[in-house]
Subunit: 130 residues, 6 copies
Amino acid sequence: MSIVKLVEYADAAPEVRAVYDEIMRARGTDWVNNFWKALAQDPALLRRTWEQVQQVMAPGALDPLVKEMVYVAVSATNGCEYCTCSHTAAARKKGMSEAMLMELMAVVGLANQTNRLANGLRIPVDPQFK
Amino acid sequence: MSIVKLVEYADAAPEVRAVYDEIMRARGTDWVNNFWKALAQDPALLRRTWEQVQQVMAPGALDPLVKEMVYVAVSATNGCEYCTCSHTAAARKKGMSEAMLMELMAVVGLANQTNRLANGLRIPVDPQFK
Amino acid sequence: MSIVKLVEYADAAPEVRAVYDEIMRARGTDWVNNFWKALAQDPALLRRTWEQVQQVMAPGALDPLVKEMVYVAVSATNGCEYCTCSHTAAARKKGMSEAMLMELMAVVGLANQTNRLANGLRIPVDPQFK
Amino acid sequence: MSIVKLVEYADAAPEVRAVYDEIMRARGTDWVNNFWKALAQDPALLRRTWEQVQQVMAPGALDPLVKEMVYVAVSATNGCEYCTCSHTAAARKKGMSEAMLMELMAVVGLANQTNRLANGLRIPVDPQFK
Amino acid sequence: MSIVKLVEYADAAPEVRAVYDEIMRARGTDWVNNFWKALAQDPALLRRTWEQVQQVMAPGALDPLVKEMVYVAVSATNGCEYCTCSHTAAARKKGMSEAMLMELMAVVGLANQTNRLANGLRIPVDPQFK
Amino acid sequence: MSIVKLVEYADAAPEVRAVYDEIMRARGTDWVNNFWKALAQDPALLRRTWEQVQQVMAPGALDPLVKEMVYVAVSATNGCEYCTCSHTAAARKKGMSEAMLMELMAVVGLANQTNRLANGLRIPVDPQFK
């Protein structure tokens, strides 16, 4: 089903195992999800992507729950099943309630609607917004 | 430039003026942005969309600033110039700093990247996420 | 502004001129729009695309105005300025009124919204629809 | 499989049942499809979306079958399986033949192709189309 | 599962069989994949699309393997499962290694990321690139 | 026009200047393009993105020109003007001829077309491709 072979821990090269260990430690879990097992076909891509996720999703000017919800919003817009499911799960773990999820989806739906009204009618940007 | 004629207040029918008045009152401004002036070609669409925006963007389980940032995230993903500019302006008005905007964009960029890694490799969703 | 040089009639090779002549004859105009002048950089692409447009947009099980409006709907969804402008113009020529355009946009907006609600919540397709 | 629990009629709150009843009455069916059962997690979103669908898809300047086909065109463009399946079924009910569906898809495919030719070559919009 | 009935060779009209025969001959296979069996509902669409594929994917200024990889990149970006699977298979047949596939995906991911950074921040195109 | 202030070299903090210097050195130019000047609002994002670009676009299993063309294909598909212009320029610098560009666009257009035919008809993936 996956286009590339998923790399299991037992079969992984040391540099792949090192990333898997970091993932499990950071998340307090004893398993690694399929996304990383697929990227592991390219250990450099695996490490780079994991480090990017760590840096981008860390607390900063935005809190991690807001970041997870933005992630879900983008994934829903792009129709990515994997990321929608995995980041909804992550957002719930960080405190997203069902009411929050439904409001999030309402905003995503509205924005996708008005994006097309604006693009389809080629509405010029008001000078006040520039 | 706009595909339909923008309806100015002076030329607007009473039911269009009524919506314009509500918009200006709700926002404490003395002008209406082009998005609404284009929708005014269809007064029913204008009213329905304005009411939807009011309801969806109101404070609820999510706070209005988070909602504006989600709006920006979707608009950036879809490449909608109008909504990106207008909702970035709205988010800034509600307190989004430059640091928050840049972190928002970093999440949007990351999600768009991993959406394609997951979709391009057809990675199966882990049973734990279902 | 264009990424490739637009090929003007005066500078065009005979096989390009032949397509330009067909376009002007089919449309009863004395000019060719920029889309074709850009494709003319690759005469085979120009001819193939023109023939495909002729065949797909011809009257058939669907009438040509419906086809133009579907074209506008797709172009608005994809955010393509060129095709939105050119096919809205074509649809108007074939009889699309402002009221029809606004209803078309309302459907496009609604569909883009519910597409994301369905994708974001991963709603399973009912067996009745399969 | 669904990210939120589908709300069955037997478990639904009165305001949700009221919408379900309207849906079944409007369609002359004795069942409600999953899309509404998912939205029912947020009764306000459920009601608002149902009312919007009723208004937008009603006969007007465009006939309902044309609207359904536009809906299918947008859903196919966005890759939304749920809406593609449900609105193709709805369009067939309203009279779309297989020949009409295939012509619709040919237009959708063509538009998606030329959208990218125009965007990829950044072809400037002709003044005649503005 | 498919929205239209797949047309099997045994049931196919002569003009459909003629295309199936060409496909099998061109590919040296004794089967035709589902994409063509679905398009066969509209024999003119089937023939036109097959001829377009033959012409576009033939060796030219770009070699066929590069073209297949570009096809995969677009399909991954659009989230099209069918084309991602079929064109990854085709690219592998033409020599794409696992290392090449992973690098391809890394570029696709990166481009999708920076596309949104550029669009979300509305970065003006430098005059040097025009 | 840009949503964030572009950071010029003269006004840049040392860690931003360091990246700018690397960019100019790597490219043998005396200027930095706007994309980086916008990202410079967030020095960590600037450095991370620059390093990712360096790693992903370096020669490897795929040659750099193929990578640039894949970048253009994705950017055209997403309708990103900035990346379409900048990466077309980069691809030309690396040897892409006009004939190669036109063939690239033909593949991009074809893939976008068949992606929608496959998604719109929900064609099941053949077991041979799995």
